[in-house]
Amino acid sequence: MKDRFLQRFIFILSCLLLLVPGPLMARQLPLPEPLQLLPAQDPAKVELGKALFFDRRLSGDGTISCAVCHVPDEAYADGRKISAAYPTNKHWRHTIGLLNVGYLDTFFWDGRSKGLEQQAQGPIHSSFEMNLNPRYLVAKLREIPEYQQLFEQAWGGGVTLERIVGSLSAFERTLLITDAPFDRYLKGQKDALSADAQQGMAIFYGKRGNCAQCHSGSLLTDEKFYNLGVAELPELSSDPQHRSTRNFFLGEMGVESMDRDPGHYAVTHKKGDIGAFRTPPLRQVEQTGPYMHNGSFASLAEVIEFFNQGGGYDPDKTERLKPLGLSAGEKLALEAFLNSLTGTYQPVHAPPPPGY
């Protein structure tokens, strides 16, 4: 009699658990707050920044604008494993997309820049990127009446380097994604995520995947640096042009030559930061492959499998990574969740370059 009562009790309890809706279960997860809107940017500065962003005269030989590597149609990334470089040179890292960059406090894979304005200046004078002396850029723009006018309208004064990078940053702060299904879910639209995506979200924020230990907060990044054991690309060591770019960069950062990417170590010079890279934010991640600092992984499925294995091999690998043992279904669910971070962003087309 007692047993029958117990069986009934377990049966009813099981039915009740099955009836618990997904969102109620999800409420137990440590989900972040929805993204807050950024302060509106001055339209005149945004327009000027947009003109500069697409202007190839920001490079030494007049062939490379910011949009060559930050392609609007490709979530302001570029779809390449290794970024484009100044003609006849080769880069050594993967391009980071710019969507939602206005929310960040740390920039570049190694975190060597602490502000968007500082970041915007970096590629212009980098010898293997746009390769233009910023002071020369100022002199060039001062000779273009249309730019003089745009600077007057935006800043009430003439062309300066601070105003150039301020305008570029103002434009970049308008490159936003805030309407992904996951965003709508966080704002209370509980049917915004498919059942698969909700399962993936539970893995992402729960103990099964524990992805949110680093991909935390509203941007899904803690902006900290970790060594995941991502393997070096053989071509970066075997090709003399890639190698010379890396060695030049290391020298510029005051770091001894090494046959690997130093990551955050180049900034801190602390041994524990060797091979550590910034946790990337994940909005629009579906569209920004290949992945990792050297574009090692072509697809999200490959990235998920990498983490499922507990990352790669490196003696200094973070202790946060452990093999997860996810099933095929769980991996697909995780991918469905990552795809739910894809939203829409305003189409931007290259304006005609001001002046000649």
Partner: protein, 127 residues
């Protein structure tokens, strides 16, 4: 599907204009692609190298050399460069697939995706 090649020799490279003209000299002898493949594989582009490739492909070498030295095909190359500038293309390679532009070397998947989209649009009665 049709593939059209336009020349855009990088202006700060010593041999890029010469190589573009050599490819044209091979084209008029019916071996553009063979010449293009050989040249991009070997990568050396001096005048002697370019004539050597013509010899390897059994082209009419005296004619090839004469056209190369007299810049017979330079106007055609210049015309392509002018077209690129009018379209504000400054990067090599730049690919245009039914109006969609892809700049720089890309993984084959990037092309597949754009071409599949273009084919799907064409099937729906577009271009």
């Amino acid at each position: 599907m049709r593939l059209v090649i336009k020349h855009y020799p990088y202006r700060y490279r010593d041999y890029s204009y010469l190589a573009a003209q050599a490819a044209e000299a091979a084209r008029v002898q019916g071996k553009f692609w063979e010449y293009f493949d050989l040249m991009t594989h070997e990568k050396r582009l001096t005048r002697d190298d370019l004539i050597g490739y013509a010899r390897q492909l059994k082209l009419d070498v005296p004619r090839f050399t004469k056209e190369l030295d007299s810049e017979t095909h330079r106007p055609r190359v210049e015309k392509d460069v002018q077209l690129a500038r009018e379209l504000d293309f400054y990067q090599t390679p730049t690919f245009v697939i039914n109006g969609r532009t892809l700049v720089g070397e890309r993984p084959i998947e990037s092309f597949r995706q754009v071409i599949d989209t273009a084919l799907a649009e064409a099937a729906k009665g577009g271009r």
